[in-house]
């Protein structure tokens, strides 16, 4: 279990992580979701004791990461697949990690087998493709057979086959009762991987819920309505619905009243309609809506 309480990390005036509290439960894959620059990596570095929080606290099973005597046996992490010396072989890389935490040398061959790198174990890590590097990083995370696993954007740059492999792999780890915490900036990816979601934007918590709940909240149906009497229609509908305006063509976007009923109301008040189209909310759209306020760099 990972517990963050009012975690903060400020760089001068920039608040990379701001008053963030969340809990990651064992036996489930928990997705850590947010746009790029939301503070996901910074949070993970603080969990692992690499960065010191400006304020607040984060603990793993009640202890700071730095308090574990052989931390790799408790927590496995893949923060960046490129944290390997390019002229060092995959096996040598895992070997020094194993020795540092008194992990038996036989385990090195085991994890290489698990991630499918046995054949290239003697080759220098610098020549690995991104997918192979990710696998080596995962091998390093698994080395100490840890209860808690952290992965930062593990599917970045992977081919579809690798993505499926990682997804199934994380499910298996969680199925074994481990705590699996995985970050991503893609909701569609997380929707298929994570059972729980912690969503952040600009360093602040946006929501912590199950993925199922998040999706059903996020993809509520809505209706697009265009009318020359939009203002009047809006006034009438506003009593029973939340209404926003499409930024592109000024159409009304109505949540909470089905299309049929809107048509009947319009007929009743003799309002002409140019468009009345039920829409199914997309997950990606909902996510963008949710984090729109907190995206750091907008495209214009």
């Amino acid at each position: 279990m990972i517990e963050a309480v009012r975690l903060r990390k400020h760089y001068g005036r920039t608040k990379a992580v701001d008053d963030l509290s969340f809990t990651v439960r064992p036996g489930r894959v928990t997705g850590f979701l947010g746009p790029n620059g939301a503070g996901k990596s910074t949070t993970m570095r603080m969990i692992l004791g690499l960065d010191t929080p400006t304020g607040g606290d984060v603990k793993i099973d009640g202890k700071h990461y730095t308090e574990f005597k052989e931390p790799l046996r408790k927590v496995g992490a893949l923060l960046d697949a490129k944290w390997v010396h390019p002229n060092r072989s995959a096996r040598a890389h895992l070997k020094w990690l194993a020795v540092s935490n008194k992990i038996p040398a036989s385990r090195v061959a085991e994890v290489l087998e698990i991630v499918g790198l046995s054949e290239v174990a003697h080759k220098n890590a610098g020549g690995f493709s991104l997918g192979m590097s990710q696998r080596l990083g995962i091998a390093g995370a698994l080395l100490g057979d840890p209860e808690v696993l952290l992965f930062d954007e593990p599917v970045n740059g992977l081919d579809p086959e690798g993505i499926v492999w990682i997804r199934q792999f994380m499910h298996r780890l969680a199925g074994e009762g481990r705590t699996v915490f995985v970050s991503s900036h893609l909701l569609s990816e997380m929707a298929q991987t994570a059972q729980d979601l912690i969503v952040i934007g600009k360093g602040q918590l946006i929501s912590q819920t199950t993925t199922e709940q998040f999706i059903s909240d996020a993809t509520k149906d809505h209706v697009r309505v265009r009318s020359p009497h939009a203002v009047k229609l809006r006034e009438i509908l506003a009593a029973d619905a939340t209404i926003t305006e499409d930024a592109v063509d000024g159409a009304l976007v109505v949540h909470g009243i089905p299309a049929e009923q809107i048509g009947e109301i319009a007929a009743e008040h003799q309002i002409v309609l140019h468009e009345l189209s039920p829409q199914r909310g997309s997950l990606e759209e909902a996510f963008m809506q949710l984090t729109k306020e907190s995206v750091e760099y907008h495209a214009h």
Partner: protein, 252 residues
């Protein structure tokens, strides 16, 4: 012991220590060989045999030691290290011990290698190591390299990038301390308290016994020769302590 084994595996599973050691050996022994070959037989002295080891090869060893830590920052393996060993001080001290030890051994090999080459190429010269001063002049190279390595690692930890650390170490060792001597009146007084000048003072052969040895000329050292070595070591350790404190407080 575990951490020493870790650092040993890390160091020897990359190529740069092998290349640097080979380069130091070639430069150190090679320079002596050239000097010996171009000096009339019988005219060579012990002081001359260690020019290569105490000046040229020392620089390469400083670079090797700095690289041992700056490459960790360059490839972010320092983060992997701190994840495996959250006690940063122990991890970095273990690295320092391993690198300093290797530098020391390398120093002895280069020093006696240079001496051997000189003896081989100039058999008529009196190169016998008799006095304590002569032993210190040759065998002391290993101590010099070991302490130099500590200093270089400290600079590497503080600067974190190869180019910066190497530039600082080379300019400091090869230029800065020598140039300070040019300052009128106070120059040589300052030099008496500079670390690499004291390192040279430690190696210096007794005055008059060896005209070939003129490296510490004109500086009035306030310390004995072993005192100079202790001073050099003290500065290296002090710098390392500062570096360890900074590394502990800094975000990795």
């Amino acid at each position: 012991m575990t951490l020493l084994a870790v650092e040993r595996i890390k160091l020897f599973s990359t190529r740069s220590p092998y290349w640097c050691s080979a380069l130091a050996l070639v430069l150190g022994v090679g320079l002596t060989a050239i000097i010996a070959a171009s000096t009339d037989d019988g005219q060579l002295s012990i002081g001359v045999t260690q020019f290569g080891s105490s000046q040229l090869a020392l620089s390469v060893v400083l670079v090797m030691a700095a690289l041992a830590v700056t490459t960790e920052y360059r490839f972010s393996t320092i983060r992997a290290t701190f994840l495996a060993v959250p006690n940063r001080t122990s991890a970095l001290v273990a690295k320092t011990v391993v690198v300093a030890f290797i530098a020391g051994v390398l120093g002895e090999i280069i020093a006696f290698g240079s001496w051997g080459v000189a003896k081989l190429l100039s058999p008529a010269s009196d190169l016998a190591i008799n006095t304590g001063g002569e032993w210190r002049h040759v065998a002391g190279i290993g101590l010099l390299y070991g302490i130099g390595a500590v200093l270089a690692i400290a600079v590497g930890i503080l600067v974190r990038q190869t180019a910066g650390a190497v530039a600082i170490l080379l300019v400091w060792n090869m230029l800065l301390e020598g140039l300070i001597g040019i300052i009128p009146k106070v120059g040589t007084k300052i030099q008496a308290w500079l670390p690499f000048q004291n390192a040279n003072n430690f190696l210096a052969l007794p005055a008059g016994s060896d005209p070939g040895e003129g490296m510490a000329a004109g500086i009035d050292f306030k310390l004995s020769q072993w005192g100079s070595l202790a001073y050099f070591a003290g500065i290296a350790v002090a710098l390392l302590v500062v570096a360890l404190i900074v590394a502990k407080r800094r975000d990795a």
